[in-house]
Amino acid sequence: MFAAAGDSMLSHGMKQTGSISLNHLQGVIYAVLNPWVAIGILLLLAFFSTYMTALSWADLTYVLPATSLGYVMLALVARFVLHEHVSPLRWLGIALITGGVGFVAGGPELTKHPHGDAPVGNPCAVTASPPFDSAQGKLLAKDARNGAPGVEV
């Protein structure tokens, strides 16, 4: 549930960054630059706050790959809105990023023990959202990973 909310939140933020870079691509038109820049800054702020929100409950190594979906979004925008040509090499790049994000999204989003001595390499890890001690952002669950294996979120 948490992961789903975060994913939608991130993709929301990503669309916003996507349109910023879009504005940059059109930045040659300096006459209309000022309103675009204002919108761009607003969107950048919105993206930054969603990014920080995601960082408040998920690992950096979880959030960052998800953020890179923005590149994918950007390429898709370029293809379908700007009707640019997207080369096969770039499609391969899109596929790689998407694969990487899928990889990390299947795992747990937060390291529960700061001094990670947890078992490594449980390929079908549980994506349970462990309960938070919201005051300190620390996890109450001792090992959220030892739940029922293979549970999808």
């Binding site: 929100t53 950096l60 596929a95 990889f103 990670g116 490594v120």
Partner: protein, 126 residues
């Protein structure tokens, strides 16, 4: 000679943005779950606690350094080299730094993901 300048600027970007990301991540872990905090004590508390966090401020400063390094790098090298190199090296550097400084458990799954994303970004931005 120009290559050395370009690559040192790229390294500066990577270092600064990795430091910035790690500091921001640490700051937000200290602030705690923003959603829960906002429900309990309002948006003002969240903003005040975030902006008052020294890690957050240093993180933003590091991000600014990264941005200016990017400007320097772009003045020395091609954007088709600088952008993909800096972006993909940042991903790898972040995985390493998150493991060392944030004690995140970067398992095989996350290494693979970081590698895939770095390769993909390099292809896309190239």
């Amino acid at each position: 000679m120009k290559g050395i300048y370009t690559w040192s600027a790229i390294l500066a970007i990577v270092f600064a943005s990795v430091i910035g990301d790690v500091l921001l991540a640490r700051a937000m872990k200290q602030v705690g779950d923003v959603g829960a905090l906002r429900r309990r004590s309002g948006l003002g508390t969240v903003i005040r606690r975030t902006l008052g966090n020294p890690n957050f401020l240093f993180g933003v400063a590091a991000m600014a350094v990264a941005f200016f390094s990017l400007l320097f790098a772009l003045s020395w090298g091609d954007v088709s080299l600088v952008a993909p190199a800096a972006a993909s090296l940042t991903f790898i550097g972040n995985a390493v730094a998150a493991r060392i400084f944030l004690h995140e458990r970067v398992d095989r799954r996350r290494w693979i993901a970081a590698g895939l994303v770095a390769a993909g970004v390099a292809l896309l931005a190239g």
